[in-house]
Symmetry: C2
Subunit: 326 residues, 2 copies
Amino acid sequence: MRDVARMAGVSIKTVSRVVNQQGEIAAATRQRVIDAINELGYRPNRLARAMITQRTHTVGLVIPDITNPFFPEVARGVQDVAQEHGYNVFICNTDGGAVATQKALYSLADQSADGVIVFPAALRDETLGEFAAAFRPVVTINHLFEHQNVGCIMVEIRRGAQMAVEYLCQAGHVAIGMITTEHPPKMKTRRVLGYTDILQAHGLPIRDEWIVTGPATLDGGYTLTHKLLDQFPEITAIFTYNDLMAVGAISACKEMARGVPQDCAIVGFDDIQLSTVTTPALTTVRVDKYAVGQQAMHCVLHMLEHPDQQFVPTSIPMQLVVRESA
Amino acid sequence: MRDVARMAGVSIKTVSRVVNQQGEIAAATRQRVIDAINELGYRPNRLARAMITQRTHTVGLVIPDITNPFFPEVARGVQDVAQEHGYNVFICNTDGGAVATQKALYSLADQSADGVIVFPAALRDETLGEFAAAFRPVVTINHLFEHQNVGCIMVEIRRGAQMAVEYLCQAGHVAIGMITTEHPPKMKTRRVLGYTDILQAHGLPIRDEWIVTGPATLDGGYTLTHKLLDQFPEITAIFTYNDLMAVGAISACKEMARGVPQDCAIVGFDDIQLSTVTTPALTTVRVDKYAVGQQAMHCVLHMLEHPDQQFVPTSIPMQLVVRESA
DNA sequence: CTGAAAGCGCTTACAG
DNA sequence: CTGAAAGCGCTTACAG
């Protein structure tokens, strides 16, 4: 910058002014500066600028695992709107661990990220609150958290689960099992809530033994389906936590010579690409993952512009996608 | 930091020394400083530090599309080793465009990233060279580029293609088609080279009409397979550019009532998760994507530590995974 | 329309 | 073992 100023025969301040396009500048002066900039290949140092403006044009995205097909799409959503606004985005994987999440959050704050988007997963509310007290904005996805410094993007999970199970009921199923992830004892997740909502609405009994839990993976779905159907062969339909588990369930059914959907209907959750290529193709509840990412980034931007304003939680609607497995 | 110094009754310099664990410090003094740090919740500002040390502990990863199942795994590879070494990583999507790639590169340099990992895709060598002249280190994946400032991680694509086609030949196929992406006329990609290598080795004719090109997607594979088999029904095996295309090819064959693998064998490339859940499951060439990412990040780290050293290209070996489609 | 000075929050020689 | 000064590359009031 000094070199540019010298070459153009002006002060550093003037260079700064043309770079930032602020204030009035004599056309001739500006041209001289621009020429010097081009000749020297000068590019402003964003770090130095950031130190003054307190804006790094950087946001962090904290997710369990980019390798899980759910997350790349939301990542793309945030990246696309970030890029539109001149932001770069850090991505951190936590594998769902509470301490890894916490570390990632503070590491992002140390890097002076302007904002942070996080799937809080196992993170305790207390920890999240501590962080939010020192950092703003943070936006959580799928986790309601009331705080001046946090915005929330909510996927209507309970509604989605209701749609899935309702569809199964409409098709005449009365013995519907559920395969889901482990969760704290006694706590019902939104998916389980949606499931019981509908059973109740139809006057169907809720049998806790029909709800089995394990890792939300292909293998998890496979193993749990075996377990569930071995024990309760009367079950004719299964609603799963996500598509990965649903695809595992399809494999298990094939192996057990249970036709899908005739002998056992299966409905997944998320609508990832995988679900279109299985045989039968998966009936599932679509989450607009890309929109989730976009909204989250918009939320960050909004909170950055309005430091004093409370952000009202945004809801992302769900949609049932009927294919072949149910 | 000033507050910490004041509270501990020492100079700023002393605080800096305990934070960076450098130099000898009286135990009592150190303790006082540490207490002050904890009490105040002081965290060093990495930006300010970066401005001096010229190290942001930040790297950029420039890929076509995080939504393509190939890339999350390599991203995870670089992120994991990055994190181990205290680095955060920016991810930029380019959709394979040359100008988007160039923009991403310079944006990363503007952010003062310490290094950059890039799939150069459509980027012209000249552009890459210009960038590398002003920035170091850059490491390219799958693109050999001789330059003091660039390291290369090479996947043995030609070798992988040879393995795939050799397997098909061994199985007795003599009419083997190929579905691949568009590429500059007259230029043979490494996959096509591997394909022709083996045909030649077996004394089989090379028929350019049997090599069809289009987008490397599910749909692309589907459409091209229709086209290829409609025109040349004598073809009994197809080697595809990637697994996405291979899965599309399977769909097309099903629709055309061609049994896979009996009537038409199919071999893919990459070994993404998708390929395990199709019916039939895909035979493919495995690329260790995670290792690619790890190596790339190691390369960055190495080049950062040895500014004067030329990095020798690293090769990632391939492996044929035989499942059901061939 | 343009310039000189102070300062963002640190680290790096250099003294003592 | 510890301190005072300069400076990383910019921007922000404040003058003129």
